[in-house]
């Protein structure tokens, strides 16, 4: 199929990218080849096309040589398409008459064979030259932005982002699936390495969220559906029944006191099941919102309809208890979304040889955090399940981290929280504390100093992997005493057995429960471990591939509180920069439907991930809302009539590109 194109003047620019491209691709030969291609008026090579002089070169040529199309053979268009479009625009050329040929990621970086690399680079350039001829000037359209941000997840990341945005005067919707905000940080007693009281620094922020005029807090809520796109997302939130009205409750806690269950009977999830609660409860005293929640699974009335409802009597005229409450949905229009859904602590049960879940003396780190917490199930006393105070405590590092059977990555915080736990346990019990570690990773600010301090306090360190945990030798009653930890002490070069009364497992951080559903909902990518992927690891660390959706905190990867807070503020700044623009340009690579050719077969309508297509009931044809279209091309590919088409990806352009490649391979 030969299409005739008008003669146009094309400029081709081959970038060396230092040695990134030039090290593998013969850029001189490639440039000479490009000059021979039809319509090419000028072909040049340059060391760094993206640099200022590189862009200037391009601009000058456009003006002096009256270039009508530009091909830049360089890196991925993901990186610099915008740069070169902008340069062309500055020189008076429509930015969409620029095409990139990716000879770095697609060529130089995937082979060491110079001959093959040159051949492929030629094909890529030939394709781009052939395609760009058929490009048409396009105009950007603008869409106005809803100046409101939704923050998903009410841990320290979400709290920080919400406060920063709220303080800047923007409306914030903070969505938290648990009955209270605070996340994991609220469970901790102290934070490393400064040993600040976690509650003392966190709860003021939680209260600030509650009282902030710009922040609307939705606890016990989950995002159910997301539609729309950058600047104008429409989010449907499922509000789960609390059975107590947030508006009417004053937080007097009478309902909890007067519950027919005279004493707490059910494991409190917030205390990792170590403490007990009633069916009506507060997860912890400083919970925000400061409103109790009724658990439908354990409440007698909700379960069986048989109860004296003493809570209702206790609440009296305030009438805050509402057993009729059902889950309901609320919908919000927001311009940007910050995802801060946090992490989940690794469950060590499958690692049988550590004895978690078998021996009552084995704890996960998060459980010990609760034991240490003054508001926890033991009021801050470190006692074993039998009530005794441990005299010998072992802490095993890297549980589920740096382990190819579980998570190959380092969870970044375990060394430091293990040191913190060692310090706190020693401080509270005077016990002999032994850390079993592989490597101590303490690269943060004041981390190394803290490590030294803990060493000086007499905490023991044994470098080696724990191979086995067994019950200790029997006492006079024949009952085993404590546990014996067998470890391959790699510094001494021998296997050592260490008796302990309590064993703490420093568990890994892994993606939160339901992370994959969250990822799909917000159209994000994730790494192989399941943590959400930033748009660029260095230069766009809080952006995602979905414009207008930003990341904060451990949902992006394990990190400590200072990093989380910094990232939350970065995400807030990005969201702010976006919604403060009032309007944003839309990429013009949108799809449209040629009404004459459309039969109204409805094929495209359900396929659009952005709900941008509807059927005109009068004409019986499909209509695409350009402000919603993100240019994914799904409808274009599916349309059996060829009536749905896409700017920058017309059939002709795609065939030109293919023909360009095929004619030079």
């Amino acid at each position: 199929m030969i299409r005739q194109h008008p003669q146009v003047r094309i400029g081709v620019y081959v970038c060396h990218c230092g040695t990134n491209i030039a090290g593998t691709v013969d850029v001189m030969e490639l440039t000479a080849f490009a000059a021979t291609l039809p319509n090419v008026a000028l072909a040049r090579e340059y060391r760094y096309m993206c640099s200022d002089p590189g862009q200037e070169l391009l601009k000058r040529d456009i003006r002096e040589h009256h270039l009508e199309r530009i091909v830049v053979a360089a890196c991925s268009p993901n990186l610099h398409e915008k740069t070169f479009r902008k340069a062309a625009e500055d020189a008076g050329l429509n930015p969409f008459l620029v095409q990139m040929a990716n000879i770095r990621e697609h060529v130089a970086w995937v082979t060491a064979d110079r001959e093959l690399a040159l051949a492929k680079a030629k094909a890529q350039v030939a394709a781009a030259v052939r395609r760009v001829v058929g490009h048409e000037p396009l105009e950007r359209k603008f869409v106005s932005i809803t100046p409101r941000v939704m923050v998903v997840g009410g841990g320290i990341a979400g709290i920080q982002a919400a406060l920063t945005l709220g303080d800047s005067g923007k409306e914030v919707i903070l969505v938290e699936r648990e009955p209270t905000i605070g996340g994991h940080m609220a469970m901790f007693d102290k934070t490393f390495p400064t040993l600040d009281c976690a509650a003392c620094i966190l709860t003021p922020k939680m209260t600030a969220v509650k009282d902030h005029p710009k922040i609307r807090l939705l606890s016990l809520s989950e995002v159910a559906e997301v539609s729309g796109s950058v600047g104008n997302y429409h989010v449907k939130v499922r509000r789960k029944a609390r059975y107590i009205s947030e508006e009417r409750c004053v937080g007097c806690m009478k309902c909890i006191e007067e519950c027919v269950f005279r004493s707490p009977k059910f494991p409190n999830a917030f205390d990792q099941g170590l403490g007990l609660r009633k069916p009506v409860y507060m997860p912890f005293p400083q919970a925000v919102p400061p409103v109790p929640v009724i658990d439908a699974e354990t409440c007698l009335w909700l379960k069986s309809g048989k109860c004296k409802q003493t809570c209702v009597t206790a609440c009296g005229e305030r009438n805050a208890i509402d057993f009729q409450q059902q889950d309901w949905y609320e919908e919000f229009d927001v311009g940007a979304i910050i995802v801060a859904t946090g992490f989940r602590a690794f469950d060590p049960t499958p690692m049988r040889f550590y004895g978690y879940g078998q021996f009552p003396q084995v704890y996960s780190a998060l459980e010990v955090e609760r034991l240490l917490n003054a508001a926890g199930p033991t009021q801050g006393k470190v006692v074993l399940r039998d009530g005794s105070v441990p005299k010998r405590v072992g802490i095993v590092h890297c549980i589920g981290s740096r382990d190819h059977n579980y998570h190959p990555y380092c969870s970044r915080v375990c060394c430091m929280y293990s040191l913190k736990l060692a310090h706190l346990i020693k401080e509270k019990t005077g016990a002999e504390v032994t850390n079993f570690y592989i490597d101590i990773r303490a690269p943060g600010k004041a981390f190394e100093e803290f490590f030294e301090r803990v060493q000086q306090e007499g905490v023991r360190f044994i470098r080696g992997k724990v191979g086995d945990v067994r019950p200790g030798p029997p006492d006079e009653n024949g009952q085993p005493q404590g546990l014996v930890v067998q470890v391959d002490d790699t510094l001494r070069g021998r296997v050592t057995k260490v008796p302990v009364d309590m064993l703490v497992l420093a568990v890994a951080l892994e993606p939160a429960e339901g992370a994959d559903a969250v990822r799909r909902m917000f159209n994000m990518s994730c790494s192989t471990e399941g943590f959400f992927l930033e748009k660029h690891p260095k230069l766009a660390p809080v952006n995602t591939v979905n414009d207008g959706v930003f990341l904060a905190g451990a949902c992006q990867g394990p990190k400590d509180i200072p990093d989380t807070v910094a990232q939350a503020d970065a995400a807030a700044a990005q969201a702010l920069a976006l919604i403060d623009c009032a309007r944003i340009p839309l990429e013009p690579n949108t799809a449209w439907v040629e009404a004459e050719l459309c039969s109204g077969c409805k094929t495209c309508i359900p396929l659009c991930p952005y709900s941008a297509i509807s059927r005109d009931p009068e004409k019986g044809v499909a209509v695409i809302d350009e402000s919603l279209c993100k240019g994914c091309g799904t409808c274009v590919a599916a349309c059996p009539s060829g009536a749905a088409q896409q700017h920058l990806f017309t059939d002709a352009q795609i065939y030109d590109e293919i023909e360009g490649i095929l004619s030079y391979v």
Partner: protein, 330 residues
């Protein structure tokens, strides 16, 4: 003024297209009033030599139906081309390869063996006679036409001016085409003489097609009682109307049978089967890869369904020769 001369010729076809000309009924008289039929071997006694005797371009138009799959058909296509001002590909086989085009799923050798030696289709062939271009008989030497390796659409062997699609072309389209030729009111050369919009446009059942991905199961017409009002796809029946040109006044659909796609692709669809497949696959109501696979597997004979009329004209053209390993799965 002399009436313009027209010709009709058939190549690899079933005869249905000739029937369609006869089906013009009274309209055929109107046609004959305005044109002279100069060549129509199916209906009247014309010989090849009559055509060869004509001056080049003597016929105003020649309508050729059937696909091209033999040396003789190639010669006749060339001849008709030379003797006509306008060459019209008439019917699906000539337009896109048609049902004979399904032979491109097999090699020529396999087809001949199946017919002549494997005995499944042939009459008794005790002496194992096998087609050959040169045949010696006591009476003398015979030179016979040979069967091509692949079936081709008409425009794959000669330049075609217009296409009249359909299996066979609807009477209305034939009359319109002849009228347009006589009156000289033709669209740009290369056009398909049928509306460039798919069947769904005026389909009486379109309102009952859901606006969602809804297909959980494919069924075939003999397996259910077909609702005469409801969209076939909504009933799980493979209707290719979304990918197929209109112009037949929904003949099959009104006969309560789903569209099989004989009128071929829209002008912007490069490959009919691919267009139809992507449209149908888009309707499958599942996001689970395995379930989607299971639903799609219910489509009996996908090649024969989606490329029933158009394999030679498709981007595939034909099935490739078996691989060196005999086509075994790796």
């Amino acid at each position: 003024m002399a009436k313009p001369k027209v010709g009709f010729y058939w190549c690899a076809s079933c005869g249905g297209c000739e029937e369609a000309v006869v089906d013009l009924a009274e309209a055929v008289l109107d046609v004959v009033q305005v044109v002279d039929i100069a060549f129509w071997p199916c209906a009247t006694d014309f010989k090849r030599s009559d055509v060869e005797a004509m001056a080049d371009g003597e016929m105003a138009a020649c309508f050729v139906n059937g696909a091209i799959r033999s040396s003789e058909q190639q010669e006749m296509a060339d001849l008709c081309r030379r003797k006509s001002q306008l060459l019209v590909a008439f019917g699906s086989c000539s337009h896109t390869g048609g049902v004979p085009g399904m032979a491109n799923m097999y090699t020529r050798q396999a087809i001949l063996e199946a017919v002549y030696t494997d005995g499944e289709f042939s009459t008794v062939n005790a002496e194992k006679a096998f087609p050959s271009a040169h045949v010696s008989r006591p009476e003398g030497q015979l030179e016979l036409p040979t069967l091509d390796e692949s079936v081709k659409a008409l425009d794959q062997v000669v330049v075609v001016d217009y296409y009249l699609p359909g299996c066979p072309p609807p009477v209305k389209l034939i009359v319109e085409a002849v009228t347009a030729i006589v009156e000289g009111k033709l669209p740009p050369r290369g056009s398909v003489l049928a509306p460039d919009v798919a069947q769904c446009r005026d389909c009486p059942r379109i309102d009952s097609k859901p606006e969602e991905a809804f297909i959980k199961q494919f069924v075939r017409p003999h397996q259910i009682h077909i609702d005469p009002e409801k969209c076939f796809l909504a009933q799980g029946l493979l209707c290719l109307g979304p990918a197929t040109r209109s112009g037949c006044d929904h003949a099959c659909i009104k006969g309560n049978m789903p569209c099989t796609g004989c009128l071929g692709p829209l002008s912007r669809a490069t490959d009919y089967g691919a267009a139809a497949m992507s449209a149908i696959a888009s309707l499958v109501g599942s996001n689970d890869a395995r379930q989607i696979g299971a639903i799609m597997d219910q489509i009996a004979d996908p090649a024969g369904t989606f490329y029933r009329y158009s394999l030679p004209a498709s981007q595939l053209f034909r099935r490739l020769e078996p691989a060196a390993n005999g086509g075994q799965q790796r």
